[in-house]
Symmetry: C2
């Protein structure tokens, strides 16, 4: 069989310098194998440091991957072994937009009648699933602690039964802070190959989840390529595809088109859905007083729909039915903040917080169905108003994980909004936000390309690490101290290995040295050999 043309364009993903993929086996579930990145160091006291690794089989030299076939389905035996799912029988429809089939078709699963195959349902029944043990080993926690966090709604494990390729991970404030990378095309830009490449590239640089926000052509097929090849959970905003299905006319949106889209995406394997069910009719007048109105695409679409029909948001009125669908597949809610502020002027206003309260009520409703929930947050917020966001989210949303976009702490940083976002993200992360959605340098200007995606991921990984360090997470402290010790001991190779981008760190230093200089020298060109403070200190 010849390779699919999309599949032929990807070079193998390279591993990081001095790193090796290892697997830590489970003890509750011996078939759990948790991948880690083992970094070799020239330090007698710590010859190897194990780091959290999201890159999946791509960085395992022993595994040959083929994007035309998709990743190995590591969770299938766990999912089938629980005996609570069956083939759904639904076929992909022409209306799904599927006019170029993925090479390997996977038969969709759904819950058997009366069963609820969600991690929350299992956790509440006292089961430590293989997914929970996987997370526990990744995070250095006890399996039952993970179970309790999921049972009580403080953490989610987004793990659709139709995405068995993904490695389980948790989003919650008592876990490592996670980041998300948004990918996806628009009507003006990009194609399947580019978006699949962005997903792989995002994973290479360490994103914990990806959201496919495609609104352009080939939405279904693009997503199929992404999900089948993604070792991390995939999120979407289903209203985008629903709108495409009704020809882009907001007035023609209806519950039936949305419901069909939900089922289609549930059966395809999306792990979490952004659902803007908290944008209510009553809040629209509040948003009209704003400097920048509504800046959430989903929020704006629903506001327009409500205005056209003079009816309440159909995602709100049909929320119970949405829960009934999501629970069949273990798709988690990411309750969208359709009224998030798009400028610091509008931050923390009545519209924003009115919606947040509704999201809290919807959380309770979803939990009654054992559906996992996280809450999306802003947006643009000045530093002095960030804490109030976290405080109110905890107060109104009963401890459900918070997932914020930035927030961007200023509005005039266009071209550098990855940094304006990372500043706010680090602060809100340190206060307890569980996942940080990245922003790239192109935000507000254009669709990001490959390099933008990388920059966005790295600065938000910095924000997440800063948050973890502030919260005193032992894994963050060990990594940070290992780096500082390597720095103080002039172990340059070890320093490169411990940074977020080893190639860049090496290039920065080595390009500055001329041929006569020894790359292992106990100095750099910043201070030269006589003015290095650390060297002088060690002479004392």
């Amino acid at each position: 069989m010849t390779k699919h043309p999309i599949a032929m364009t990807f070079p193998p993903m390279t591993s990081f310098e001095g790193s090796q993929k290892i697997y830590v086996p489970g003890s509750v579930h011996p078939d759990v194998r948790v991948p880690m990145r083992a970094v070799a160091l020239s330090d007698n006291k710590m010859p190897v440091l194990r780091l959290y690794d999201v890159t999946g089989p791509y960085t395992d030299a022993a595994v040959t991957t083929d994007v035309g076939k998709g990743l190995p389905r590591i969770r299938t035996s766990w999912i089938m072994g629980r005996g609570d799912v069956e083939a759904s029988g639904r076929k992909v429809l022409a209306a799904d937009g599927c006019h170029a089939k993925f090479a390997v078709i996977q038969e969709p699963l759904r819950a058997r009648k009366g069963c609820v195959p969600t991690q929350m349902a299992y956790a509440r029944r006292g089961m430590v699933t293989p997914e929970m043990e996987f997370v526990a080993i990744r995070e250095g926690l006890a399996p039952d602690f993970v179970r309790r966090e999921v049972a009580e709604g403080r953490a989610i494990i987004p793990a659709n039964i139709n995405h068995p390729e993904a490695e389980p991970m948790a989003i919650g404030r008592n876990f490592l802070t996670k980041i998300n990378a948004n990918i996806g095309n628009s009507a003006l830009s990009s194609g399947i190959r580019e978006e699949l490449e962005k997903m792989l590239w995002s994973v290479r640089w360490g994103t914990d989840t990806v959201m496919d926000l495609s609104t352009g052509k080939d939405i279904h097929v693009t997503r199929e390529w992404i999900i089948r090849n993604s070792p991390v959970p995939v999120g979407t905003v289903p209203i985008y595809q629903a709108l495409e299905k009704v020809g882009g006319k907001v007035g023609d949106l209806c519950w039936e088109a949305y419901r069909d889209t939900l089922i289609e995406q549930c059966e395809q394997g999306v792990d979490y859905f952004t659902v803007h069910a908290g944008v209510l009719q009553a809040f629209l007048p509040l948003a009209k007083q704003r400097l920048t109105g509504i800046v959430s695409r989903g929020g704006a679409i629903l506001a327009k729909w409500m205005q056209i029909h003079g009816q309440e948001n159909f995602l709100y009125t049909h929320f119970e039915e949405i829960c009934e669908i999501l629970k069949l597949y273990d798709v988690a809610f990411s309750l969208g903040d359709g009224l998030r502020p798009g400028s610091t002027h509008d931050a923390n206003d009545a519209a924003q917080f009115a919606e947040l309260k509704v999201l809290g009520a919807l959380t309770t409703q979803a939990w009654a169905h054992d559906v996992q929930v996280m809450i999306e947050g802003p947006g643009h917020v000045p530093l002095n108003k960030i804490k109030e966001n976290m405080d109110l989210q905890l107060e109104h949303c009963h401890g459900a994980p918070f997932y914020t976009l930035g927030p961007l702490v200023i509005d005039m940083g266009a071209g550098f909004d990855h940094v304006t976002s990372a500043i706010g993200a680090a602060l809100i992360g340190s206060l307890g936000t569980a996942m940080l959605c990245y922003v790239t340098p192109k935000e507000h200007l254009a669709l990001p390309d490959r390099e933008d995606v990388k920059e966005g991921i790295i600065v938000h990984k910095i924000a997440a690490h800063a948050a973890d360090l502030a919260k005193g997470h032992p894994m963050a402290i060990v990594l940070n101290d290992a780096m500082s010790k390597a720095r103080y001991e002039f172990r340059w190779e070890d320093q490169y290995r411990l940074t977020l981008d080893p190639e860049r760190a090496r290039r920065f230093r080595e390009a500055s040295l001329d041929n006569r200089q020894d790359p292992s020298a106990r100095c750099c060109t910043m201070c030269g050999p006589d003015f290095c403070a650390m060297k002088i200190t060690q002479e004392i």
Copy 2:
């Protein structure tokens, strides 16, 4: 006369898009002319926005500058008019390292006997100097407010009487947050031309002060080129040059060599000195327990000196004499934190805070001489320990301005430490730090080049703006809201003009458009024409 070879290499500095240099005259002092950048906008309600401008005559199309001659001396008449200074009579010595004289020699001034020509002395006597009015207009404040802040030590106006080329500016927590760019060569890298170019480039991108941290060859001459051409205050760390004068041997350092260096630099026009007078013998055992020891170059040099001689830090024992020198020229202290933490592990430890208390006592001592003071701060500090730094600085240092290096909130960001620094800088700025020292992407790896300097400046200007917005500074709010309004109204040209790097913002957006697309379209490639939330909102 042919141009000096160094002077021939500089292209004219370009102004920002759509901007014009204007001057606002003083009312107390009619010869005060405060430069501003007037940005033309396509907004009927605000056709022009005036922004703070540090670029000096370089961006005034009506002025021809020549780095071989230096900038116009705008302060000379003010300085001479006060009648409290006279020619110092000191000649540049061979020991100063001056083996390639600057083209135009300026005769050094110093205080007449019994006079104290410092802004603090004037302020305490109730005088509103032209420098104070200049600052007041720049910052949109009342002149007497500026005077009181300087009189009470909460702000400094670094303005050496021998640097009449500089435009007055203030550093204090009730003023706009400032940033500093470090330039200067090391023994391994760079020359005069490169460092002069970096200064001009730094000013182009908006730094409020520069520090020349040269430790390599030609320290005196490099500094001369920088000072004569700098429209912003210039700081140094005199112990670096003192060490060069004694052949690089720490044990040979002595008060006399240091004193001569101070006088030389005072007469050359340095506006503020980092003086590590708080690193005391008693604190060295505290630093020995650290993960990364002493990471301040000055701190390490003095620690070694104390160990060699078994004596107290000579900057501490001679502090009274240092004050007597600085007051003759109105050079401000930047009291150095020689024991700042070099890793998050060492943050907020006993060594750091012991030194901070001493800096507080030295502040009182300097103020008794009417010498202006700011206090340097860390360093590497995790987010959760930043506030304690600001709180203790205010407590121990009597309200003197705080000037921090970052702080970097994680240690393992090498290659991206401009961002790890900007995160901490934004937070500590929002809590009241008056000036943020930039960090570039090359930190910990190599001496920064031109592009690194620009990146470092822009991300720290973002941090400073974020801090100002959090503090509710009216100028920050006006700028931010103007940007958001332009964004909501799809005025792309105005958006570019209001960003920190208009060329970059324009390039990012326009490169993404194909030939058929109109650059003024009410959308970008992020969402395309049908999914733009702001456009949809406006249709409602």
